[in-house]
């Protein structure tokens, strides 16, 4: 006995029970419908088991797009077998998975040993994101990189910025105070926001101001200011003496990283009043006071929601713009306090929540997500080879110059990623990749569909949509793809025409508006 389900306009409906009539793939054959009395049958059928599997795959695809950079269909199947919550736990504990074989990589990418230039570091990070078995660790590093910004344009030393990313990899899912302490001691940040120029009796407010405005509290929330100008000055006083070693000049042999040092002779030991508390505060105590503020909980919760769940209003508007989903933010704020400000704990709540599971395709992909997600799908650059620099540059050309954000505010996200120029870059890039039948990931998709003997245009299109991440297209768009898939007439598995047909469908899918969403 099979329960037959028809998918109508993207939703699933159980319509009737029928007798045993053949294999699930028989149900997909157009001829089957001549014997079935249903009003709408433009979509193909699923058994209940298949339907559950497809829903599980679609949910896992969603998780892996957000908590990582996307996965192949085979990886999704493996993860579905392991279970959703088990996958979340694995992602939250990256040390359980092996790191990259850096010896082999440095042997081939000889410039990765000292990583001086920005472009070398961008290539390294690109490779890392494509190949990591710890995708959430890398995604969290990207998350913090877009908020706690440091730019190579000022640091002029890619390795120094890369070391900051290493700090995010290590601390990014620990507690918020640990992350801010790491940031306050990070030499790239100390230099980028001039704290090395802030002295006892002659403060530079840059770090103190951005720490409050951009890195921890935000200007305000619920129409209230979160701090005053005096708080900025007092924070700056507390961080005097937090500086870095004098650098070794770049000539003649190349740069060396600077290190954080604390100079007690340059630290302001006088009493400070900060956010209503008074004492002889040093930097760590300022961070402790910051992290217990309700505005810090809101700040972290909204950023997590904006990055991992759904596009919010741009950050500068948050003071006067309520969260898109106040209940979700409330839940995350509660976990912030319950867990002792633990980011990993907040992410666990987030990924296991209904508001996350129901937020599919509610985010515009960043350029990094477009490029890395596509490369993970086609499984190119899984070992050292030429062409990595041009690939990394593609992310830059789409508007995200990694490790070199336009300002300390980072990048404007969501729909602001897209303009007519970057959209063309996105579509051309993804279509070029999926159109290359020689790439392992494309080959795998073709082989899989071929083995399932799917020949009708609707089946081909829908199966391709599932294979690239369970994308759902508007009916009109899907109809156009089906029309294209069928225009050459019937195609036979095992032929060049069949592979070409699938590749063209894949190209069309990644050229759709829907593929720009995660």
């Amino acid at each position: 006995m099979l329960r037959v389900i028809v998918r109508i306009s993207g939703s699933f409906s159980v319509i009737r029970r029928v007798g045993t009539i053949g294999t699930p793939r028989d149900l997909a054959s157009p001829g089957f419908w001549q014997n079935v009395n249903v009003e709408s049958h433009e979509k193909y059928l699923y058994t209940e088991g298949e339907r559950m599997a497809e829903q599980d795959i679609a949910l896992m695809a969603h998780l892996m797009r957000r908590a990582g950079f996307g996965s192949t269909y085979e990886e999704l199947e493996r993860r579905v077998s392991a279970g959703y919550e088990a996958t979340v736990d694995e992602l939250l504990n990256p040390e359980g998975q092996p790191d990259l074989d850096m010896d082999i990589l440095e042997r081939h990418f000889i410039d990765w040993r000292d990583m001086n230039a920005l472009e070398v570091n961008q290539a390294y990070w690109t490779y890392r994101m494509i190949n990591t078995q710890r995708p959430l660790q890398e995604k969290v590093a990207l998350f913090w990189h877009g908020i706690l910004c440091t730019g190579n344009s000022k640091c002029e030393h890619g390795r120094q910025v890369q070391l900051q990313l290493d700090m995010f990899r290590e601390l990014g899912m620990k507690t918020f105070p640990e992350i801010l302490r790491g940031l306050a001691r990070d030499p790239a940040m100390v230099f980028y926001l001039d704290n090395c120029m802030s002295h006892k009796g002659a403060i530079n407010e840059n770090w103190g101001r951005e720490l409050l405005e951009l890195f921890s509290l935000g200007v305000g929330m619920d129409d209230e200011a979160n701090y005053s100008e005096d708080d900025v000055k007092e924070a700056a006083r507390a961080f005097t003496g937090w500086t870095i070693t004098n650098p070794i000049p770049r000539y003649p042999y190349g740069r060396y990283e600077s290190n954080f040092i604390y100079n007690p002779y340059d630290h302001d030991e006088e009493e400070k009043t900060f956010l209503g508390e008074t004492g002889n505060f040093n930097g760590d105590e300022i961070i402790d006071i910051i992290c217990k503020q309700p505005s810090a909980a809101r700040f972290v919760a909204r950023h997590l929601y904006n990055f991992f769940v759904a596009d919010e209003a741009e950050v500068p508007a948050w003071q006067r713009t309520a969260p898109r989903d106040p209940e979700a933010i409330k839940l995350l704020e509660e976990e912030y306090y319950r867990s002792g400000y633990n980011i990993g704990a907040m992410l666990k709540v987030l990924f296991n929540s209904d508001f996350f599971k129901n937020a599919r395709f509610e985010k515009v992909k960043s350029p990094t997500e477009v490029v890395i997600g596509t490369m993970r799908l086609v499984r190119d650059f899984t070992e050292p080879k030429l062409g990595l620099h041009p690939l990394a540059n593609t992310i830059r050309y789409m508007g995200q110059d990694l490790m070199n954000p336009p300002t300390v505010e980072g990048w404007h996200t969501g729909k602001e990623w897209i303009d007519s120029g970057t959209l063309v870059e996105r579509i051309n890039f993804a279509a070029d990749q999926l159109g290359n039948i020689g790439l392992p990931g494309v080959k795998d998709i073709v082989s899989r569909i071929e083995s399932e003997q799917i020949t009708n245009p609707e089946g081909l299109v829908d199966r391709c949509l599932e294979m690239v991440g369970s994308y759902q297209l508007a009916d009109e768009t899907r109809g156009q793809l089906v029309e294209h898939a069928g225009k050459g007439g019937s195609v036979t598995p095992g032929t060049q025409e069949y592979s070409q047909c699938i590749s063209e469908v894949l190209q069309l899918i990644v050229a759709t508006q829907e593929y720009q969403f995660a």
Partner: protein, 356 residues
């Protein structure tokens, strides 16, 4: 009085080079070879996006710049690498035959390019594959007696022998950890007796063979203690039979005796080179001040990416550092015996002459 042994020591002489994409200097150098008289040839691999830095620099051991060839500037522009004849993409090794011709291996192109001593392109061997006389990712070159060229065929985990005209003469090795087996081997050298030493990179050891591939000896195991190795990239042998290993991931040069017993090591003693000082004098004088106030300048002494080692007929030891774009030069201090009736070298009295 009991006999004591003075250990081998390495005396630092100087540093050669500076980081440059052209002209006097190197960019991510990976190999070098000594030419006639005091000339030397240094292979720069550079960054992928800066093929203009890929080249072979000819200079002297006194840092007199002679010229460069195979520089990767192309018609497509400086950001585009080229596989044209004579060009380099991912060069790995260099060797010079008795006629002074220069052979350079390229693991991206699976190619050996041949130039005369002035850098004029003479020809290439390009036989990608796994059959006899074919190769995958060639990573080491060394000429032996009779101008026989030994190539580390890294992708196929073996050593191959060729006549100087490219005729295949033989091969040995396969993937594994046993005697005569390899795991991504890298550098190679031939000693005065014609025996062949291979840096068995991912097995963290050095293997020694006769000229026809008969296994003779191995030493080294994974680790960072004295005598242990972490991804050795290259090996060289001096006239006394002492063996020098570029212990790449341990950032040091180790010295072993002819039997593979550990003698000593150095982590580098780099100083400002002649070209380096000229760089600061000629347009960057503020950097003299920056160096004067820099904290941690002692790091500049240390090796960073010691990827190749070469010993010349004068007993000079050259260590190529890929991440510092320079070469540190050392000399070995000869060990002596001293005991009853003998005195330390340089003191009044007898001088022991025995070699360890």
């Amino acid at each position: 009085m009991a006999t004591q042994t003075i250990s081998v020591t390495l005396q630092y002489e100087k540093s050669i080079g500076r980081a440059e994409f052209s002209g006097p200097g190197f960019r991510n150098p990976v190999a070098m070879a000594r030419g006639e008289d005091d000339t030397m040839y240094v292979v720069s691999r550079s960054y992928e996006y800066r093929p203009d830095g890929k080249r072979i620099t000819i200079c002297t051991t006194d840092e007199d710049y002679v010229g460069e060839f195979a520089r990767g500037v192309t018609d497509q522009g400086e950001g585009e690498a080229t596989s044209a004849d004579g060009a380099l993409i991912w060069p790995t090794a260099i060797a010079i035959n008795s006629e002074g011709n220069v052979y350079v291996a390229d693991e991206a192109l699976d190619r050996v390019s041949i130039y005369n001593q002035d850098g004029e392109f003479l020809g290439k061997w390009e036989k990608s594959g796994s059959g006899d006389g074919e190769w995958s990712k060639p990573s080491g070159l060394a000429f032996g007696q009779g101008d026989v060229l030994y190539m580390v065929d890294s992708g196929n985990n073996r050593v191959q022998k060729f006549a100087k005209d490219g005729q295949f003469l033989g091969q040995w090795g396969s993937k594994g950890t046993g005697d005569g087996e390899f795991n991504m081997p890298y550098g190679i050298t031939v000693d005065a007796n014609g025996d062949v030493y291979v840096a068995d990179w991912r097995n963290d050891r050095i293997q020694k063979f006769s000229s026809d591939g008969q296994f003779l000896m191995k030493f080294g195991s994974h680790g960072s203690d004295p005598g242990e190795l972490d991804r050795p990239t290259d090996v060289a042998v001096d006239g006394d039979g002492d063996i020098y290993v570029a212990d790449w991931n341990n950032e040091r040069l180790q010295v072993f005796d002819r039997d593979g017993n550990y003698l000593t090591h150095t982590e580098g003693e780099g100083t400002l080179s002649k070209w380096g000082a000229a760089k600061l004098d000629g347009g960057n004088p503020e950097m003299w001040h920056e160096r004067a106030v820099a904290q941690g300048l002692e790091r500049e002494k240390l090796f960073w990416g010691p990827i190749a080692v070469e010993v010349d007929d004068d007993g000079k030891i050259f260590v190529v550092e890929s991440a510092r774009s320079r070469i540190q030069v050392f000399r070995k201090q000869y060990p002596r015996y001293y005991g009853p009736g003998e005195s330390m070298p340089g003191t009044v009295g007898g001088v022991g002459s025995g070699r360890l």
